[in-house]
């Protein structure tokens, strides 16, 4: 960003605007804004954030724990820091400051690339590197040899009767500009993702099928311009999910491998099988499916008082700890004469009665603890109900029992039975669509290349001037760097050597 004096010319009414613009685009303002940007990002890492992080309920929990301060924090967008107006204000100001500085520099670079390298200053000896020596070779021979040497070193060279002017390292400025402009491109990529993309989650038990419409998602976060009706149409069935855990060693119980075998069908009816693993998502026309979690879904059969099957199949239970002690509910609203509900706890490796915590995450000795309820499940009221909770108001607890696979619990008064048939696994899929990410990737590459070029390349000038004196030819050489770091010594020393070494026979002839 440019270094300018902030002198104000006699005002034509626009003096203040000029002053504001100059202040905004000064390097000092840019540094201050960068510090503001860093500090502004801090609170978001300490306070729970909406639409961020692994835990979507964190903001609600914070509200419950700190009811006094939470609304005030919310008023200042502190649960939404990275979408907050004040955060946007900082980075927008920074971008404006940057552009106000970078665009004039682009223009200047363009002019400089078209102009010849600068004339040598009168006092060459004051520059960073200087050498003066007599030569027994004629002036034009010295100069043409210097020019040739510098051209070979990829300098831009101008040769006159008395001097050689050379400059190199324009790519530094190009890199610097590319770096700053890439930040704009990055912003465009992020904005497209935030405007048109979406994120969602869906849990599938083994054998279940997901269809890519909004209603199939367990959670769906569209963006402002997401075409909710126009999602890529496909369906995907989870055939099986394999999980492996460390059976011993210092990290016993830690997961070691997950492998979801899926079959998916595209719009045109073509079906394919593949595997989704961590770090190995499935990409269907830009919609990506990631295996983000797993758990257990006990398979049960509920028979009602009439002996009819009122419910049968796997029910997803949510894991509560590292060993996958999971809880969930089973509802049989179609049971007659009374509706049946069960609050359940699944222990994939369950001990005897002494503990109600699973001992290992894998499925070695599943145990299903059930508490049975009869009465009104409250599902006819029209109010939406979570599939993970029982509305106990209209229910009466009628018994509890611990089941192993194949066992059946009989409810009192012939209200019905429930059989524990087995356990399936379920997979949690994170489903994401971000049409801006390719642009962001291009921006990141541009940023990386530009940054490296602007920091490593040194723009420098070299002048060679010859004068004829009574004692012969005097060669003056000077070099200096236009950047903070000094010019490399090697180029300069090599040139000195090339000009002072004994002339080769061809040159003499």
């Amino acid at each position: 960003m440019s270094k300018r004096s902030t002198s104000v010319r006699p005002s034509h009414g626009w003096g203040w605007a000029r002053w504001v613009w100059r202040t905004l685009t000064s390097m000092r303002t840019a540094v201050v804004l960068l510090i503001f940007l860093a500090l502004a990002a801090v609170p978001g890492s300490f306070l729970p954030q909406r639409n961020v992080a692994s835990d979507p309920a964190s903001v609600q929990r914070f509200y419950l724990e700190h009811p006094g301060i939470a609304p005030w924090l919310d008023r200042f967008s502190l649960f939404d820091v990275y979408a907050a107006p004040w955060f946007a204000a900082v980075y927008m100001l920074l971008l404006v400051s940057m552009m106000g500085c970078v665009l004039p520099r682009c223009a200047r670079l363009w002019r400089e690339c078209r102009a010849a390298p600068a004339r040598p200053p009168t006092q060459l000896s004051r520059l960073e590197r200087f050498r003066e020596f007599p030569s027994d070779v004629p002036v034009d021979a010295v100069l043409s040899r210097a020019a040739e040497f510098l051209r070979r070193r990829r300098y831009r060279v101008v040769l006159t009767d008395t001097d050689v002017r050379a400059e190199k390292g324009y790519l530094r400025e190009v890199g610097n500009l590319a770096f700053h402009l890439s930040l704009l491109v990055l912003l465009v990529g992020v904005a497209i993702g935030k405007l048109f993309g979406f994120e969602g989650r869906a849990a599938l038990a083994e054998g279940e099928t997901f269809t890519n419409v909004q209603s199939s998602y367990d959670a769906f976060t569209p963006s402002a311009l997401t075409q909710v009706d126009g999602l890529t149409s496909f369906s995907m069935t989870l055939e099986s999910l394999d999980a492996e855990f460390a059976l011993g060693g210092p990290r016993m119980g830690e997961p070691r491998a997950f492998d979801a075998r899926v079959t998916y069908t595209r719009d045109d009816g073509s079906a394919e099988s593949t595997n989704i693993r961590p770090n190995q998502p499935l990409n269907i026309e830009g919609t990506k499916l990631f295996l983000s979690g797993h758990g257990y879904a006990p398979r049960v059969t509920v028979r009602d008082g009439d002996g009819e099957v009122a419910f049968s199949g796997p029910v997803i239970f949510l894991p509560m700890d590292g060993n996958f002690t999971s809880d969930g509910v089973i509802k049989a609203p179609n049971a007659s004469p009374v509706q049946l509900g069960f609050q359940g706890l699944l222990l994939p490796t369950g001990p005897g009665r002494e503990s109600d915590r699973s001992q290992f995450p894998d499925l070695f000795a599943p145990r299903l603890d059930l508490t049975a309820y009869t009465g009104d499940l409250g599902m006819d009221s029209g109010l939406p109900q979570s599939v993970f909770t029982l509305e106990r108001a209209g229910l009466e607890k009628v018994g509890d029992q611990s089941l192993r696979v194949g066992e059946t619990m009989k409810l009192p008064d012939g209200a019905g039975t429930i059989t524990f048939d087995g356990v399936d696994r379920f997979a949690n899929f994170q489903i994401a669509y971000d049409p801006g990410k390719e642009i962001s990737l291009v921006a990141a590459i541009m940023l990386m290349v530009g940054l490296t070029a602007s920091l490593l390349i040194r723009r420098r000038r070299v002048w060679v001037r010859c004068s004829q004196s009574s004692r012969g030819v005097i060669v003056e050489m000077a070099g200096h760097s236009l950047t903070r770091r000094g010019s490399p010594a090697a180029d300069f020393d090599d040139l000195v050597r090339a000009l002072t070494e004994p002339t080769s026979p061809e040159a003499r002839s």
Partner: protein
């Protein structure tokens, strides 16, 4: 003896060697100071702190002379180099024991980090006369290794599936290399601030040149680490940036160092102010490694304490 055991034993050896190098460097500095104070001949004074032509890097032209750094100190440097080789060997053995890149948890990150810091110092020594900050750098490496073997130690084991990706090798390696250079730069900046408090002198300028040169190298490497992390996050979690605490603090670190580089080309901001930015950036970097893993829940929590 298996390679995991050997790696652990080597780390203990490295601790001892670094400690010896630390003592030798300290002794070297003391001997030099005593010499300078007792023989007050004008030649000696100019030899210890004098103008010196440094071939690379224009702003380090005023620098203390290496010859003023005694035999004892140089022995310390040699010992440090030997310790570094052993440190590197223990890292490689650890990788062989675990059958993967040896930076999958905080213990491994710490032992590789110590090696990276010493490597950055030894590499810096080839370009800049930074013997004087040597003991601080070794001291830091000692503290980190000490924490590694006492608090952070965990036996070699496999990784959880989400970490099981070649991006682990790329992303974390870049972060560690940048971290090594940031550390030495921060020590140089701190030394610069402490010196400038007393007087404005050539040595402070020389220290600033050291931190500037190292940050010039480390900043693009850190940028690469962040970008590689974003690419990995896209493949693992479905989004390349999600303001996870680890990502946020990587961003804060990046912005502070960007401010440092801009301050270096702003009139009136070079020197003390720029040095503060270097320290702020380093504080954010360290917080990201220690604080975020311990206090802030997020997707990177599995890195383990």
């Amino acid at each position: 003896m298996n390679s995991a055991q050997l790696s652990d034993d080597l780390i203990t050896t490295v601790l001892v060697i670094y400690a010896l190098a630390f003592c030798l460097q300290a002794a070297g500095l003391a001997v030099e100071r005593v010499k300078r104070n007792t023989r007050k001949s004008p030649n000696m004074a100019t030899a210890a702190v004098g103008a010196r032509y440094v071939p690379d890097g224009g702003i380090t032209e005023v620098a203390h002379d290496r010859s003023g750094y005694g035999v004892v100190g140089r022995m310390g440097t040699v010992l440090l180099g030997f310790g570094f080789v052993l440190n590197l060997s223990s890292v490689i053995l650890r990788g062989m024991a675990a059958g993967r890149a040896p930076w999958g948890n905080m213990y491994e990150f710490a032992i590789v980090g110590a090696a990276a810091i010493v490597a950055a110092y030894l590499a810096g020594l080839r370009v800049y006369p930074i013997e004087r900050i040597g003991i601080w750098v070794i001291g830091l490496a000692l503290v980190i290794l000490g924490c590694a073997v006492t608090i952070l130690y965990t036996p070699a084991a496999d990784l959880i599936p989400v970490l099981n990706s070649y991006w682990l090798a790329i992303h974390v390696a870049a972060a560690i290399i940048a971290g090594g250079a940031f550390t030495v730069a921060a020590v140089a900046s701190l030394a610069q601030l402490l010196r400038r408090r007393h007087r404005s002198d050539g040595e402070a300028d020389s220290l600033e040149g050291v931190s500037y040169g190292l940050i010039l190298f480390a900043f693009p490497v850190w940028t690469f680490a962040v970008i590689a992390g974003a690419v990995w996050a896209e493949a693992a979690w479905g989004r390349y940036w999600g303001w996870d605490p680890k990502e946020t603090w990587a961003f804060i670190t990046w912005v502070f160092y960007a401010a440092y580089l801009h301050a270096q080309s702003t009139a009136g901001w070079r020197g003390r102010r720029a040095a503060w930015f270097s320290l702020l950036g380093y504080a954010a970097f360290i917080f990201n490694f220690v604080g975020v893993n311990i206090w802030l829940p997020g997707l990177h929590s599995y890195a383990g304490v």
